[in-house]
């Protein structure tokens, strides 16, 4: 029931006094519903947000659980006990266009002291905390950020009364939340790195492993991604060594042949351009193997 609602109660009696039916009313008693101050904050990110050093966004939802229109002051605290590192809070923004995603230049950045607009009872607001992850952060490190929302009218122990501070001059009463709520969001640093290991096996025309004209050298390049996160559009290239000639039709990815032409498949190879294989998106701890042959001139 919204704050300021008037509850009016009147009883009606009817009776028979021998001269017929009579009806009388009681006086009307009135009680005004006062303003309840309650708030919840929830982290909307399903888990730690994967990030690299640089800018990152944490997403929260604030709900006015009270029964009156209320604004809330916001405080983002990056110094949480147990953090591997602390981020820098750049700003707190409101999801102005309501799409649930932070849009730079569109979503309103709150000026200090960060305070929301007045929210209707039960209204929810998506809040973004914009942070910068320091360069010193390393792979798999985690950092938490707390966002606290507090009713502007006041907060405190449940039941605390702010006389006259509610809707229509009624009282404002702190609800079970204490009119203050905190939610914790977290970031995890995911820094993938690529490792390429190249090896060569020689087969000379005489069944040995000598490096003589006509020897076939099979190069193997193993690409491995370590750390965490994803590498996008990884392309492995290599040149054909001087004094050798590419053996046409020998380019392969994970033992599956690739055509030499620069066409629909992942690879291309030629004497002049060397080899190139597009490994696409690559998740951590996966590995792929590129092989090709050259003939020693």
């Amino acid at each position: 029931m919204t704050a300021g609602t008037l509850i009016e109660n009147t009883a009606v009696a009817s009776y028979d006094d021998g001269g017929g039916a009579r009806t009388i009313n009681s006086n009307t008693v009135t009680v005004r519903v006062d303003e309840l101050l309650d708030v919840t904050v929830t982290a909307l990110d399903p888990g730690p947000v994967s990030t690299r050093p640089g800018d990152a966004v944490l997403t929260f939802e604030l709900t006015n659980q009270g029964n009156g229109p209320e604004a809330f002051s916001l405080l983002a605290n990056p110094a949480v006990a147990g953090n591997d590192f602390d981020v820098v809070v750049r700003s707190v923004a409101i999801d102005s266009n309501g799409n649930g995603v932070y849009d730079a230049g569109v979503d309103e950045i709150l000026a200090a002291p960060q305070t929301t607009a007045v929210l209707a009872p039960d209204a929810a607001l998506t809040v973004f905390v914009l942070v910068t992850v320091p360069d010193g952060a390393s792979d798999t490190q985690i950092s938490a950020v707390d966002l606290t929302a507090q009713a502007v009218t006041g907060s405190g122990a449940p039941g605390t009364v702010f006389a006259g501070a509610g809707v229509d001059g009624g009282d404002a009463i702190v609800g079970t939340s204490g009119a203050i709520a905190t939610a914790r969001g977290a970031l995890i640093v995911g820094m993938a790195s690529v490792e390429l290991v190249k090896s060569v096996v020689l087969r000379d025309p005489f069944g040995g492993t000598g490096a003589v004209p006509g020897t076939i050298a099979t190069f193997t390049i193993v690409a491995r991604v370590t750390g965490s996160g994803t590498i996008n559009d990884l392309i492995v290239t290599d040149v054909i060594p001087a004094g050798t000639t590419y053996a046409p039709g020998t380019l392969a990815l994970d033992s599956a042949g690739l055509s030499d032409a620069n066409d629909g498949d992942a690879g291309s190879a030629s004497d002049a351009a060397g080899i190139a294989v597009d490994l696409g998106d690559f998740t951590a701890n996966a590995s792929r193997t590129v092989t090709f042959d050259v003939v020693i001139d």
Binding site: A11, D17, I24, V161
Partner: protein, 162 residues
Amino acid sequence: MKIFRKIMFAVAAATFALPGVPVAAQAATSPIVLTGDVKAVKITTAPDGTERTELTEPSAIIPGDRLIFGTQYHHSGTEPVSNFTVTNPLPAAVRLAPDADPALAVSIDGGKTWGVLAALTVASSDGTARPATHADVTHVRWVLSRIAPGAEGRLTYPAIIR
């Protein structure tokens, strides 16, 4: 004609003023007077953990709080009256509290039909029916077959702010 109009206006004004007429003025015409009141139920917990329930003047009233609406009746006439029925529409902002007297006559359809809550059902749009709940109650009613001269009493129902 002009005079007649003036009289009409006077009557209209009197009619409009009637709900505001003090109880004392009604008493001149009715031997029975109804006096309504409302109390808030505040439960305080003592340091030793025991709970105490107090009835207080309502202040700082928020959803979920309990109110007791009371109606005091007093028969100051000289003749007994019969079929004394007190009907109390529930304000929309409250629901009947679950610990209300199960024998209390209630209506869930705006006062058209009456019964004890356990005997009432609410029809849904798909043709099925569910048992009525305290939140469905729109009116409560007390019926006293006879009130002797000088008798008085108090009728109450507990409510919870929605």
